[in-house]
């Protein structure tokens, strides 16, 4: 379904501060058109294992909260539960983060932002789904505007069950994620690149006003 583009995304003439007019086509000029590629480990296993160990010790969560579960992030990142002692920190922008925590139900509108955020993160990157809503829809299973299975739209490395999961559950979940990373099993970014068309078609099936490039790099 073709949508008319929002005015700020349309091709147009722009006058620069020096008075020179030039053409801008936001979707092509502001984004790189290259699609994601699968990145295999380039070194001997022992070196890759070392890399994975290092990655597991360096989890940077994107401060992006959706749904009710985002509430549990505050005690988690403050002295009460203090996730920082496990080497887990929060960052304000996708460029500086490698762990996207989807903290509950995702409305279709938020899904669009979540996909953009995920694609802007640098590999290797991980996704954790929090709560029943990300697993099978939870109590929003019959809602007209929330998705039911997060892994239809982005590769999920780990789910943490609960409605909502307590900070302790998150801490345990992060420890499990570290194990997955060390074992080289947290390959979400590669999975995304491999099945890119499948993910895109799922995403476009629910996001009816698709007005962004296919890959928001």
């Amino acid at each position: 379904m073709e949508q008319e583009l929002k005015p700020e995304l349309q091709k147009r003439m722009v006058k620069g501060p020096d008075g020179v007019e030039f053409e801008v086509e936001p979707l092509r000029d502001y984004y790189c058109e290259a699609l994601p590629t699968v990145q295999h480990g380039a070194y001997f296993k022992i070196v890759e294992d070392f890399f994975n160990w290092a990655r597991a010790q360096s989890l940077w969560i994107l401060g992006f909260g959706t749904g009710c579960g985002a509430i549990e992030m505050r005690p988690l990142m403050t002295p009460r539960f203090d996730a920082y002692r496990y080497g887990i920190q929060w960052r304000p922008t996708p460029r500086q983060a490698n762990l996207l925590v989807i903290s509950g139900y995702l409305s279709v509108k938020t899904l669009k932002r979540a996909i953009r955020a995920y694609e802007q993160m640098q590999s290797p990157k991980y996704v954790v789904g929090l709560g029943s809503c990300t697993i099978n829809g939870g109590m929003y299973w019959d809602s007209y505007n929330t998705i039911k299975r997060l892994d239809d739209y982005m590769p999920v490395d780990l789910y943490i069950v609960g409605c909502m999961p307590r900070p302790e559950a998150l801490l345990a979940g992060f420890e499990d994620l570290k194990k997955l990373i060390r074992a080289g099993k947290a390959e979400g970014a590669n999975q995304y690149a491999e099945k890119f068309d499948w993910y895109k078609s799922n995403q476009k099936r629910v996001i009816h006003d698709w007005d962004m490039p296919d890959y928001n790099w």
Binding site: Q3, V108, K109, K112, I135, N136, G137, W141, D142, S143, Y144, N145, T146, I147, K148, R149, D152, R205, V206, I207, H208, D209, W210
Partner: protein, 176 residues
């Protein structure tokens, strides 16, 4: 509330007063008298605050109902005006010139119920939904479950239990 209702009844053809609390009442107004009643309440009776504007879908009666809740802060009293009008080609007079905030409510009602408010600013811009392509989702003839089934895939293995039966089983397993 009674005194206010009696005073208003002399001026407008109002319905019966439903007193929810001593300081909260609801009354039905014919659509044609909505604006004069609102103006009267705002300018002469001190009901200066539009608390909310919301809709009810009376599907069986083929009517929409709008509720305009007004508050008199000084007297600590609230009154709700109810207006009913046909669901077909649903349209209601806009009151954004009386309370600018009403424009936001009207935008939401246009999107979620499909009620038109001719002249209301930015009425047809998207409010909460993006790229919605079905009938307005708060209408009662919109089937959310069917929509969810058609659009979002299920994860196999999800079980649903009847809460009453399940709790009975849990609490009284021997059927006592």
């Amino acid at each position: 509330m009674r005194d206010l209702h009696t005073r208003l009844q002399h001026l407008f053809p109002l319905g019966e007063l439903t007193e929810q609390r001593p300081n909260l009442g609801f009354v039905t107004v014919p659509a044609a008298y909505l604006r004069p009643t609102l103006l009267h309440l705002r300018d002469l009776e001190g009901y200066t605050h539009l608390v909310l504007l919301t809709a009810v879908d009376w599907l069986e009666e083929d009517l929409f109902q709008l509720t305009y809740l007004l508050s008199n802060r000084a007297a600590g009293r609230d009154i709700g005006l109810r207006v009913k009008f046909p669901r077909q080609a649903a349209s209601m007079e806009s009151i954004h010139d009386l309370w600018p905030t009403a424009a936001t409510y009207q935008r939401e009602l246009r999107e979620m119920f499909g009620i038109d408010f001719p002249g209301s600013p930015r009425l047809h811009e998207e409010f909460i939904l993006e790229g919605w392509n079905d009938i307005p989702p708060y209408r009662r003839d919109f089937d959310t479950l069917k929509y969810a089934r058609a659009n979002f895939s299920d994860r196999p293995g999800r079980e649903t239990r009847d809460p009453e039966q399940h709790m009975k089983q849990q609490l009284y397993p021997d059927g006592a």
